[in-house]
C-alpha cells in the first residue's frame, strides 16, 4: 500500500510540475469567468444560466478528459522512455502496485481539479441571479425550472402487441397487406413495427371533441406546497390557421369524481402554439396520497378542427421537484468524475503496451467515439439487422463496451433542472467503474505483468 501511495503522489507531482496540468488550469480559470460574463443565451435569465452551466460544465469536462488522457499516458510511457521504471521495479514494488499507483495519482489530480472547477461553476451559477437585472417573473422561472431537480414521469408505453397481431391478421385475411410484405420474415417484422408505432401514436391523438387521459403512479414531490408541472408539446394532423391549439386540461385525482372531493382537481384552459414545449404549473397537492395523479386533455371542438397529437417520446410529461439543485449538481459532477476515472484507466491500459503517441491516439479515438456512442450504437443496430449473427455477437458487445459519455451527460439533466437520481448515478458508476474501468485495469495488469520492462521496442 505504501508503495502505491508513493507512486501516486509522485505521479501527481509529475503532472503538476511538468506543467501538464497548468495549461488546462489556466485556460479554465480564464474561460469560466469570461463565459459567465459574455454568455447571455436567449436573453432570459434562465437561458443565460442554462448556457453557462451547459458550456461551463462541458468545457471543464472536455478539458479534464484531455488532461486525464495526457497525464495517465505520459506518466506511464515516460517511465519507459526515461527508464526510471528500471529503478522502481527493482525496488520491492510489485507491478500491479505501480499501475494502481499511477491510476490513483491521476485520479487524485482529477479530484482536485474537478473539485476546484465545479466549485467555481457552482459559485458563478448561484450568484449570477444577484448580479443580473431580472424581473420577478424571470427569477421565479429560474427558481422553478432551473434551480431545482425535477423528476419527470412519462406515460407508460401502451402494450399494443395483441392489437398489432389482430390488425395484421385482419389485413392479411382481407388481402390488404402491401405487396412484398409476406415474402420474408424481415419484411413481416418491419411491417408489424410500423403498425405498432401507428397504433401507439393513435393512442396519443385526440380528434376534436375527444379526450385523452394519462394516469401516473408514484408521483412523489418532496414538498406538497411546491408546484408540479405538466410539460407538453402539441403536434397536429393539419396546421390550424393561427398555429394555435385550444386545450382544456384537468389535473388531479379523477378517481374521486362524483364523490366528495378530497384532493383538489385543477382545471386549465389554454391556447398554445403547436410544436412548442409548454409547462402548466399545478399545485402539488393535486397528487393523491398514494402518489396517484391523472392528467386529462380535451380537444375543444368549438375552437379546433384538427387532430391533436402528443408525440411519443416527449409529447407529455409530469415534472415535480424531487431534490435540490445543489445535490443534483453534485451528482452531475460525479458523472464527470466517473468519466475521468474511466479515461485514467484507459490511458494506463493503452500505455501498458503502446508508446506515448500511439497510446494517446488510441485514447482520443475511444474518447471521441464515446462522445457519439449513441449514434454509433444506433447505426450498428440498424445495420446489423440484416447482418449475420456472427457479426452481432462479436462487434456488438465490443461497441457496447465503448464508454457512453453522451448517454450520461450531466448537462442534459442540469439544463432542464431534471433530477439526476442516485440510482442513475449508481448505475453509471457500476457500469463505468466496476465494469469498464475494472476490465481495462485487469487487461493492463495482465499485459504489464508479462511485459519485459527493459525490452526496447522500436
Amino acid at each position: 500500500m505504501r508503495s502505491i501511495w508513493a507512486v501516486a503522489t509522485n505521479t501527481l507531482k509529475q503532472a503538476l510540475r511538468m506543467k501538464i496540468a497548468v495549461v488546462f488550469v489556466v485556460l479554465l480559470l480564464v474561460l469560466l469567468p469570461a463565459m459567465a460574463i459574455s454568455m447571455v443565451g436567449d436573453g432570459t435569465l434562465k437561458g443565460r444560466m442554462q448556457t453557462f452551466i451547459s458550456y461551463g460544465l462541458s468545457l471543464t469536462s472536455f478539458l479534464l478528459c484531455l488532461l486525464t488522457i495526457l497525464a495517465s499516458t505520459y506518466s506511464l510511457t515516460s517511465e519507459f522512455e526515461q527508464k526510471q521504471i528500471y529503478t522502481v521495479l527493482t525496488k520491492p514494488v510489485r507491478r500491479f502496485e505501480l499501475l494502481l499507483g499511477k491510476v490513483l495519482g491521476v485520479i487524485l489530480l482529477d479530484i482536485g481539479l474537478l473539485g476546484l472547477f465545479s466549485a467555481l461553476i457552482y459559485g458563478i451559477t448561484i450568484y449570477t441571479p444577484r448580479f443580473v437585472k431580472a424581473g420577478e417573473a424571470e427569477l421565479l422561472q429560474v427558481q422553478n425550472e432551473f434551480f431545482t431537480a425535477r423528476a419527470g414521469l412519462i406515460p407508460a408505453k401502451a402494450d399494443v402487441g395483441d392489437e398489432v397481431e389482430k390488425t395484421y391478421e385482419r389485413l392479411e385475411r382481407t388481402g390488404q397487406l402491401p405487396p412484398g410484405v409476406t415474402d420474408s420474415k424481415i419484411g413481416r417484422e418491419n411491417y408489424k413495427n410500423a403498425l405498432a408505432s401507428q397504433i401507439e401514436l393513435g393512442k396519443r391523438a385526440a380528434a376534436p371533441g375527444h379526450e385523452l387521459v394519462w394516469e401516473f403512479n408514484n408521483v412523489k414531490p418532496i414538498d406538497p406546497n411546491e408546484s408540479l408541472f405538466v410539460r407538453f408539446k402539441y403536434d397536429v394532423s393539419m396546421n390550424p390557421p393561427d398555429l394555435h391549439v385550444y386545450g382544456k386540461w384537468l389535473v388531479g385525482d379523477i378517481r374521486q369524481a362524483g364523490s366528495r372531493v378530497g384532493t383538489p382537481v385543477y382545471p386549465f384552459e389554454r391556447r398554445d402554439l403547436i410544436r412548442t414545449f409548454y409547462e402548466i404549473e399545478v399545485p402539488a397537492d393535486a397528487v393523491a396520497e398514494d402518489g396517484y395523479l391523472a392528467v386529462g386533455f380535451f380537444n375543444d371542438p368549438r375552437f379546433n378542427n384538427t387532430v391533436v397529437i402528443f408525440p411519443l417520446e416527449d409529447g407529455l410529461e409530469v415534472l415535480y421537484k424531487a431534490d435540490s439543485f445543489t445535490a443534483n449538481f453534485f451528482r452531475g459532477v460525479l458523472l464527470v468524475f466517473f468519466r475521468l476515472v474511466l479515461l485514467a484507466c484507459l490511458g494506463i491500459f493503452a500505455s501498458s503496451f503502446l508508446s506515448m503517441p500511439v497510446a494517446i491516439l488510441l485514447c482520443l479515438i475511444v474518447f471521441f467515439t464515446g462522445t457519439i456512442s449513441g449514434f454509433i450504437i444506433e447505426s450498428f443496430d440498424y445495420l446489423s439487422k440484416n447482418a449475420s449473427s456472427l457479426c452481432s455477437y462479436t462487434i456488438g458487445p465490443i461497441i457496447r463496451l465503448l464508454p457512453q459519455f453522451d448517454k450520461f451527460n450531466p448537462t442534459k439533466f442540469l439544463l432542464g433542472g431534471r433530477l439526476l437520481s442516485w440510482s442513475v448515478v449508481a448505475k453509471v458508476a457500476g457500469l463505468m467503474i466496476f465494469v469498464k474501468s475494472a476490465i481495462l485495469l485487469l487487461l493492463a495488469l495482465v499485459i504489464f505483468s508479462y511485459r519485459e520492462i527493459a525490452r526496447i521496442t522500436v
Binding site: 505504501r2 508503495s3 508513493a6 507512486v7 509522485n10 526510471q84 529503478t87 521495479l89 527493482t90 525496488k91
Partner: protein
C-alpha cells in the same frame, strides 16, 4: 543459499518482431558469485554485461536457463528489498529535487519517516549534494545525477549492491569514493556486483572478475591470480642514497635478474585529489557537487558503535594513526586549519586503498605489481596529457609524496 548470485546456463536472445532470433546477448552463462565478494563483470561495449544484470533483476526474462539472486527470485519484493541497483545511467525523475528523489525511493522500500529522513541526510552528505538538495535533479550534471543514483541504490542499506558502470561521469574524487564505498561495504559483509569496462576501477576493488565477450565468459578468476607477474618482484623504499641503490643493484645482478630503479610517480588520481582538497581548503564556492570522503554512517555502522566520524573515516584510516583530529569535523576538515599537515592526513585517507599496505580487514590486499603496472600505464597515457603544464608541479610534489609514502611505508 550457497551463492549470492547464481545463474544456470542463462541465455538471452533478442528476437525481432517476427520472432526470428537475432542477437545472442547472453549465451549460456554460468555465474557464481559468493556472499561477501566484490565481483567485477568486464567486457567491451555490447558484450552482454548490462543484459545480464537486467535478467538478474527481472527487467528482462531469460530465453533459457535461470538465475537465483540472494537465494530467491528477483521478482520477489522480499528479495528486492535487499538489493541496491544503480543502472547504467541514473534514470531519475527530472522534476523531483534530490531530497524528494531519495524520499520517493525510501518510500518504495516502506521505510518509516524517521529512518528515511536520517538516511537521506546521511546519503546527501555522503554524495556531497546537500547544498543542492533542493534543486530539481533534471538540472544536475551527469556526475551529480550519478551521485544521486548511487544514493538511491544505497537507501535500503542493501545486502547486494549491483552497480552498472558506477563511475561513468564521475570526477576522480567521486570515483575514489565509490571505490572506497565498495570496499567498505565488502568489509561489512555485503556483496557487490560491479559491471564496468573501466579496468582501473575494477582492478582496485574487485576480488574476482569475469570477462564477457559475445555473451560468453572468456576468462574468470581472482584478480590477484590473473594479474600477478610471478616472475617479477618490486621493492619500494624510502628516500635512500645512490650508494645504497648501487648496492641493491649489485645484489640483484648477483641473482642474474634485471633491475631498474626509478622514483615512483604519484598517480594522477592522487594528485588530482590533492589539488581539489587544497581548493576546498580555501573554501572556494562551487555550484556542483561537493566532494567529500564521507560514507553514510548507516552504511558503515557495523556491530560496533562509535561516533559518526569514526565510522565516516574508519575505512581509509591508515595504520599509523590518521584517526586524529582533522577528520573529526562534519565537513571535510580543511577549513578548520590552513596548515598542510592535516591536509596530507586527509589525503592519505583519500588515497589509502591504493597504498601498498592495505588497512586491516579490507578483504583483498592489493598486489604491489598492480600498482606498478597501473602506474606505468597511467604514465604513458597521462604523461602526454599532463606533461606540459604539470611537469614542474610534479617535480615539486614528488617530494611531498615521498614524505607521505615514507610515512606510510
Amino acid at each position: 543459499m550457497e551463492y549470492a548470485i547464481e545463474t544456470f546456463s542463462l541465455t538471452k536472445v533478442f528476437s525481432d518482431f517476427w520472432g526470428r532470433q537475432k542477437v545472442y546477448a547472453v549465451d549460456n552463462l554460468n555465474l557464481k558469485i559468493n556472499y561477501n565478494e566484490v565481483f567485477g563483470l568486464l567486457g567491451p561495449n555490447g558484450s552482454g554485461k548490462t543484459t545480464t544484470l537486467k535478467v538478474l533483476l527481472g527487467l528482462l526474462y531469460p530465453t533459457k536457463g535461470k538465475s537465483i539472486v540472494l537465494g530467491g527470485d528477483s521478482s520477489d519484493p522480499k528479495i528486492n528489498a535487499r538489493i541496491g541497483f544503480l543502472p547504467e545511467e541514473s534514470y531519475l525523475y527530472k522534476y523531483l529535487n534530490a531530497r524528494e528523489t531519495l524520499d520517493f525511493y525510501g518510500r518504495l522500500f516502506g521505510l518509516g519517516a524517521k529512518v528515511r529522513k536520517m538516511r537521506i541526510e546521511a546519503l546527501l552528505d555522503m554524495v556531497g549534494l546537500r547544498a543542492v538538495a533542493n534543486r530539481p535533479v533534471g538540472t544536475f550534471s551527469k556526475g551529480m545525477a550519478r551521485r544521486i543514483g548511487l544514493a538511491q541504490a544505497l537507501i535500503n542499506d542493501p545486502d547486494l549492491l549491483i552497480l552498472d558502470e558506477p563511475t561513468t561521469g564521475l570526477d576522480p574524487i567521486g570515483t575514489r569514493q565509490i571505490k572506497d564505498l565498495i570496499l567498505q561495504l565488502a568489509k561489512r559483509g555485503k556483496t557487490v556486483l560491479l559491471c564496468s569496462h573501466l579496468l582501473a576501477d575494477v582492478e582496485d576493488v574487485c576480488d574476482r572478475i569475469a570477462i564477457l565477450y559475445g555473451g560468453k565468459i572468456q576468462a574468470k578468476g581472482k584478480v590477484k591470480e590473473l594479474l600477478q607477474q610471478t616472475n617479477k618482484r618490486q621493492i619500494t623504499t624510502g628516500s635512500i642514497s645512490d650508494r645504497s641503490v648501487e648496492r641493491i643493484k649489485q645484489i640483484v645482478e648477483n641473482e642474474q635478474a634485471e633491475c631498474t630503479v626509478t622514483s615512483p610517480m604519484d598517480r594522477l588520481e592522487t594528485f588530482f585529489i590533492k589539488t581539489v582538497v587544497a581548493a576546498q581548503q580555501q573554501a572556494q564556492a562551487t555550484s556542483g557537487a561537493v566532494s567529500t570522503t564521507k560514507i553514510g554512517d548507516f552504511l558503515t555502522s557495523g556491530p560496533r558503535a562509535g561516533s559518526i566520524l569514526d565510522k565516516l573515516v574508519s575505512a581509509p584510516v591508515s595504520r599509523q594513526g590518521s584517526s586524529d583530529k582533522p577528520a573529526t569535523t562534519e565537513e571535510v576538515s580543511p577549513v578548520e586549519t590552513g596548515e598542510s599537515e592535516p591536509d596530507r592526513q586527509l589525503l592519505s585517507k583519500l588515497t589509502e586503498p591504493a597504498e601498498p599496505v592495505p588497512p586491516e580487514g579490507v578483504v583483498k590486499p592489493e598486489p604491489v605489481e598492480t600498482e606498478t603496472s597501473q602506474q606505468e600505464a597511467e604514465k604513458s597515457i597521462l604523461e602526454q596529457l599532463t606533461e606540459r603544464h604539470t611537469s614542474t608541479d610534479r617535480d615539486e610534489n614528488q617530494g611531498d609524496s615521498h614524505k607521505g609514502d615514507a610515512g606510510d611505508a
